[in-house]
Each structure stands twice: as structure tokens, then as C-alpha cells.
Amino acid sequence: MIRASWLVACLMLLVSVSIDANAQKTLRGKVFAPVKMDGAGSGSDTETFDALPGASVFWKGGEIGAVTDAYGFFQIDVRRNLDTLRVSMVGYKTVDVLYRGESYLDVPLEQGVLLESADVVFEESTQSISLLNPLNMQQLSRKELCKAACCNLSEAFETNASVDASFTDAVTGTRQIHMLGLAGKYTQLLVDNLPGPRGLNVVQGMSFIPGPWIESIFISKGVGTVASGYESFTGQINVAHRNADSAEPFHLNLFLAGTGRMEFNHVSRHQVGRRWETVLMTHGEYGQRVNDRNGPDNDLDGKRDGDGFLDTPLKKDGVVRNEWRFIGDRGLRADIAFVGAEMVREGGMTGENPLWTASTNIRRAEANAKIGYVLPGKEGRSWGSQWTASNHRHIQRFGNRDYDGEQKTFRANVLRSGFLGSDDVEFSAGVSYLYDDFLERGTWGATPMESSPSSDTLMRTEHVPGAFLETTWKGNDRGMVVAGLRVDHHNLWGTIFTPRIHARWSATEQTSLKLVAGTGFRTPNVLMEELGAWASNRTWILDGPLEPEQGWNAGVNVTSKFKLFYRDADFALDGYWTEFQNRAVVDFDADAHEVRVYNLGNREARSITAQAELGWSVHRRWDMRLAYRFVHAVTERDGAEAAGTMLDPYVPRHRAFSQWSYSSKVNDRGANWTGDVTLQWVGPQRIPRPDVLLDSRPQSVLEDDFVVVNAQVSRVFSPGIDLYLGVENVLNFRQGNPILGWDLANTSDVSTFQENFDASLVYGPILGRMAYIGGRWTLGKADKGFR
């Protein structure tokens, strides 16, 4: 490590000496720390400044530097090619100051957490909610993600109460999320503030984002901001990758699960020249062990025989991401990333000449760039642009049905931010263009018995130019309002207006009230959004051209932070309402052998949720989180009468959640133990009833509730080396008989099997207890210069 940094330093020295050595002028300045003092007795705060002697000041990427004198003053030669001044002092946050030609510069340093050779580290909360942000946004840090196996994004929400993750079917091992009682497709997923998994990639895309690549996840409930598009209804989840600021020089993660699943993840950061830094990430997943432990629910000794179907598919996945950061002259910044992914999954029946198998192959390539320019003068004024291009190909064969889908996407977004009149009103305005080309071919309309079914095709090309304006008003310490409007012109569906508003009012310093309201719009791609339906005998009936889904969402949230028995606690209460004007209704109830998709029309569909969450630091070593969530999600569908209810399937009305975390005292070598236990109670929910010949229960019966317990212990041996060991589903709850009609496969009556087989009726865990072990190895520290 030291040798590497020497090498880099020498390289930088060589490069910079050869480029330009003409000292033109001198920059003077002062480094100080603002200190707030309570005005004794008067009650008012006054700010004073402590000069910081001994702080180091140098040009980023250059060889010259200076140290502040006893009064905090410094003097440094200005170089033509260098525009970023890095000021650092042990015990303070390092800052990078953009130099725009001043002759004198004041550099305030905040007392900070980044400590060189530090022997003590601040304890940071791993799940946090800001009282000031008008968006009800929860941040999950990397530490929080380390509390569970969290191999990829679809599994990252196990320790979170707001987002549910469940399997789509019993064959492919695919998980999808739910937020505010609605499927993940109504939540806009962003990756580094750019559009993330969407379109044909909306469900599977989450497994292309490995947990160890993630720096933090921002979950905001309710419609998002207009700057990132019109697609969010129930929420916005932004995943921040580890980048040039947050990645350590080298990080390696290895993972092995009891099911034979192996994973390899790596993140490394490299300085390439003075202006370029790059982060390389790789991910590999391999699981070829045959697991068949679930099956009929009739054994008394708790052991179950297999059902002849793989519990988890055989998989071979690989994802590579390479991001480049460019820091240019006078405020030019660029982040350019390339992503390539391939996924191969084989599932279905085991043995020779299996009757039914499922195979999936996904190939994806993506390139994106963010190029920005910070305007000279006052802070907060900038130009920015975002560019994304991707090609996604999804090929699958489920039984006798094929699917081959391809999506080509291009998106450009140029935005300008600054102030409107006074400093109290910030604005962000921009224009965007979205191109989406979908081509889906396959035999989804075939009945299970057809040996050479005729082919179906769906084609759609969307061109959507648009413009948006978002203003943020913060004229008052107590309140803040973000109001946005975007207007898009869709080549197929006309003009779309998307108004959205977020507001925050602080009742007290520790309690804030947030409101959100706005509309959402999205075009459905049901074949890929309802992946689970492929794992069944159901024939797809796409009724008429599907119109875009439109709806509004409104919500209210109260968050309060307080002391409970002398220790920090927070409490949040929220309620959200999502109402659809149109929805692509996916109806499993109308017929047990069909999945019907049709427009909602003038019928009703809505979801109402309420959630209460309490977090408390019980003890120096113990933290606790307790949450309860209620969902009422209904859709007036054709099959509602037959099912005896309008309730959406697979949405439990009640869910309670509790997490306990322990962290031992950190010893002199930086070693400690941590432990986490998560308990989840998932209330009764309904699944679409299969054929009456196979299932004698009345239509409106709900499935049993269940409890899932996950536990993990990890040991940090020294900073940078840790090992973790965990068990998922400790109580070994498994949904009984997840694959309907499995027993018919062994009879000679092949057609009865093919006409009744259904692996999509999955509401609970299908894997039993699973142990896993993993390790992390980190070299060096992150370079969090830019904040």
C-alpha cells in the first residue's frame, strides 16, 4: 500500500514537473474552524473562529504545498493547471476548494470524522432520517447493509421496514420488492441519480447491483422529484455506488451459502494521471448445486421430501462496472461509467428428461456519463448533464414457451441550477429526451400443450422530449417547500403533465411534519414485470393495447427525535395513499389457467398504507428498531367477484418488524464483535386460487401468517478484515407445497401436469433455514475529499 502510494506520488511529481512550473502569483488565505458558543445567559448563539495552525494546504494533483502558521495563515504559489486546493488537518474534515483566481481565500474546516491514524471512530447511525429534508427520505449506510447477507440489491431490504422483498415464483429465485403495498415497478429505481432498473429489466435488474458495491441507499416514500422523470408512484430508491470518493483502494468480499451459492465481489480505486481516477468493480456468482428441500406439507417430523423441482436455480452471473472520474480545470467535472452484465439461470425439474424446465439468459450493456460545470462566483450555481445508453436482451424458455425481449434506451438530461432572485429560492430546470425501443417476441399466448406454438410479437418505440422546473423555497427556518412541474411529450400518448410538491414544517427542532403529493406515469411491460406468471401453466391474455399507467400519490409523515430513558430515540409515523387513474391490471383470479392483462378503465385501484416505526438506542451496546405497517391495496378486477375479494394478491395487510443490533467495545487493535437479529411477522395474505379440482378451499381464504428470523454475527479482527456468519430463516418456515401440481409430473398423465402446473403461487419463503459465511478484506482508506 505504502509502496503503491509512493509510486503514485513519484508519478504525479514527474508529470507535474514536466508540465508547468511557472509560478505566476501567490494565493494567501486563512484556515479556521467555526465554533458556536452559547452566549452565556443571553440565550443567543454567537459564532467565533479558532484559527488552525499546522493545517496542510496543497494543490490537488500538484507537488507544492504549504502549512498554516500559528495564526492559521498560509501562502501558496498558484499553478496554471491546478484549480483545486485541498486543505486538511487531523481531526477535521478535509475539504477541496475550487480556486477561481482569488488572491485571498478563507477556508473554514469542520470538525470531522475522517481521521488519519485514528484510534477512535465516531459511531454513526446506520439507518437515518433527516429532520430537515422535505422528502421523507431514509438513508441506509453500508454498515446497515452489512447486517444481512445482502448479496444484491433485491436482498438489501431485509433489515428495512418500508420495503418488502418477496419471491416472484418457486423456480427462478427472483425477488421483487414492494413499497406502499404496490409492486416494485411503481417505485422508481435510480442508480447514482440516473435511471436504474426499468423497462424489461425492472425485476431482474436488482440482482445486477451487488451489495458490496453499494455505498448507501436512499429510500424516499411518495412520488419523487420531477428532475429524474415521471415514473415514480410510490417512491424513489436511489442507490449510490462506491465511487472515487467513497471507495477504498481495494475491497474484496467472498460469500458462501449453505445452498452452494458462491459469490465474489471486488471494488478497487486507481489514480490514473492527475485528473482521472477510476473505480473498477467486479461481481461473480456461481451456484451449481442441486437443492430440492421443499415440497408437500404433510410430514409430521418436520422434514420434507423434495418435489422434484429445484428450490434455487443453477446460476452463473457476472457483472463488471468501471467508472471514471475526471476533475478538470475551473469547475469541470465528469463521471463516466460502463456496465456489462450477463446472467445464466437454469431451473425447473431435476433428473433425466425433465418434463418442465426454465432457463434464462440476460445480457446487458450500459454506458452513462454525468458531466457538470460549476459556475464561478457564488456557490450552488451549475450546469449539469446526464447521458445514458443501454442495450438489454432477455431470452428465456419456460416449459414450451419462449421469450426474447430486447430494449434499447437512450436518455439525455441537461439541467441548470441556481437561485431565483434571492438566496431563499433555489431552482433547478432542465430539458430531457428519452428514447425507448422495445421488441418482444415469444409464444406467451400458447396453451401449455401446444408443441409448436405460433409466435407473438410486441413492439413499441417511445420518443419523449420533456422539460421540467423545480423550485426550492427555504425562506423560513421552520418550513421548506419543493415544488416541481414537468411537461413531457410522448409520441404515443401525448402530453403528460407531472406536478409534484414536497413540503416540510418543523413543529419543534426535534419534530418535523412532511407532506407530499404528485402524479406518476409509466408505460407497462407486463411480460417482464410479472416474471412469476411464466412459471405456470397460465396462458397470457393481453386484452387490447395497454394504455399507460397513471395515478397520483399523497402522503404525510411525522418524524420526531427524542430521548427515551436518557438515550436517543426516534419515532416516525406515516400514511400514504396511491390512487390509479389507469393501471395495467394483471388478473390471476379470473381464470386459474390464464393471466389476463387489461386496462383498469373507469374502475378503481388504490393502495392505502400506514406505518409506525420506533428506533431506540437501548443501551451503549444495543440498538433496537420496531415497526408496524398496514396496507390496504385493492383493485376492481374482473376476477374480483370470483375471488370474493378486491384485495390485491400477495400483499399482506399487516407486517411487523423488529431488529436488534449489538456491537461490542472496540479494543485497542480495532477489533470487535457485532450481532444482529431481525424478526419479521408477515400477516395473512391471499394468493390467487388455483383450479377448484386441485384446491378445495373457499376462494376468500387467506394464507397463514408466518415469522421469519434472520441472524448474523460478525467479527472485525482489525480495521479492514472481518468475517461474518449468519443464518437466514432460523425458524425454518417454508411455504407448504409451493409448486402446485408437482405430484402430477410423476404420473404418466403428462397433459394433466402441463395443464395444472403452477409455481407462481408463492407468498412466503421457499428455502428453509440457510446458513452462510462471508469475509471482507479492505486495504487503505476512502478518499472522501469531495463531499
Binding site: D38, P53, A70, Y71, G91, G112, G644, T645, L647, W681
Partner: protein, 135 residues
């Protein structure tokens, strides 16, 4: 909307309620166990930076100390402790033990010498205080 009503789900509601009671009990027990005689004390401790704050708070990470919160701006520590295990002198000594002077006791030269360079508050303080008009 008559078909919105669902068949009785008493058993599962029972389980849900049991789940909640389990946790409320847990919280109640924690609070009962912390009913022992407690006292609060606030006193001055010298410190300069975030590193000092962490060090001081780590020193107060002891059995019988419920909360120890050091405020760098006011240079005061607020401690909630069990009177059975701790007294005022003991608490002051926790700070001096890791090299930080309190408003009543002075840390030994050895423990002060162990402080990180940037945390040498005795030198830094005099340096800043001698030129207050510069700030």
C-alpha cells in the same frame, strides 16, 4: 364493495398481537432494569477536536454509566450514572485517565503525553488564546 370483508383471521391476529406484546415486554423490562438509582452530572473537560470527543466518550464506556455525551462546543460532558457504581471523583478520573483535564482535576503528564499531536489542548489553547483579536 360488499366482498371486501374477509373471513375471520383470529388465529393470525393472535400471533400478531403476541409478537407485539413480546417486544413491548422487552422494552418494559429494559426500563425496569434501569430503575436503579441514577444521577446526572455535568462538568468541564478539555478537548479540541472530534478525536478528543471520541476518546473521552470511549473512556466513559463503562458498566454503570448510562449515557456520556461530550459537547465539543461547550467543552462539557454530561453523564448519567448509577450511584451504586460511580461517584463524582471516579467520573472525573475517567477523563484524566485518558489525558484530558477536567475543571477540577488535572491529567498526569504521562497520560497527556499519550495524546495524538492534534489533541494537545494545553499547547493549542495557549496558542489561540494569546491572539484572540485575530479570530
Amino acid at each position: 364493495m360488499g366482498f371486501l370483508s374477509i373471513s375471520p383471521i383470529g388465529r393470525s391476529i393472535f400471533r400478531g398481537v403476541a409478537f407485539c406484546i413480546f417486544f413491548i415486554l422487552g422494552i418494559a423490562m429494559t426500563s425496569v432494569s434501569s430503575q436503579a438509582q441514577k444521577a446526572e452530572l455535568t462538568f468541564g473537560v478539555s478537548g479540541l477536536c472530534g478525536m478528543c470527543e471520541s476518546r473521552i466518550e470511549a473512556a466513559f464506556d463503562q458498566k454503570g454509566i448510562v449515557v456520556a455525551d461530550y459537547n465539543l462546543e461547550t467543552k462539557q460532558i454530561h453523564v448519567v450514572y448509577k450511584t451504586k457504581k460511580w461517584n463524582k471523583v471516579g467520573l472525573h478520573k475517567l477523563a484524566t485517565g485518558v489525558g484530558h483535564d477536567t475543571d477540577e482535576y488535572r491529567a498526569s503528564e504521562e497520560s497527556y503525553a499519550n495524546l495524538h499531536g492534534c489533541c494537545k489542548y494545553r499547547e493549542h489553547k495557549s496558542c489561540i488564546e494569546s491572539h484572540p483579536e485575530d479570530q
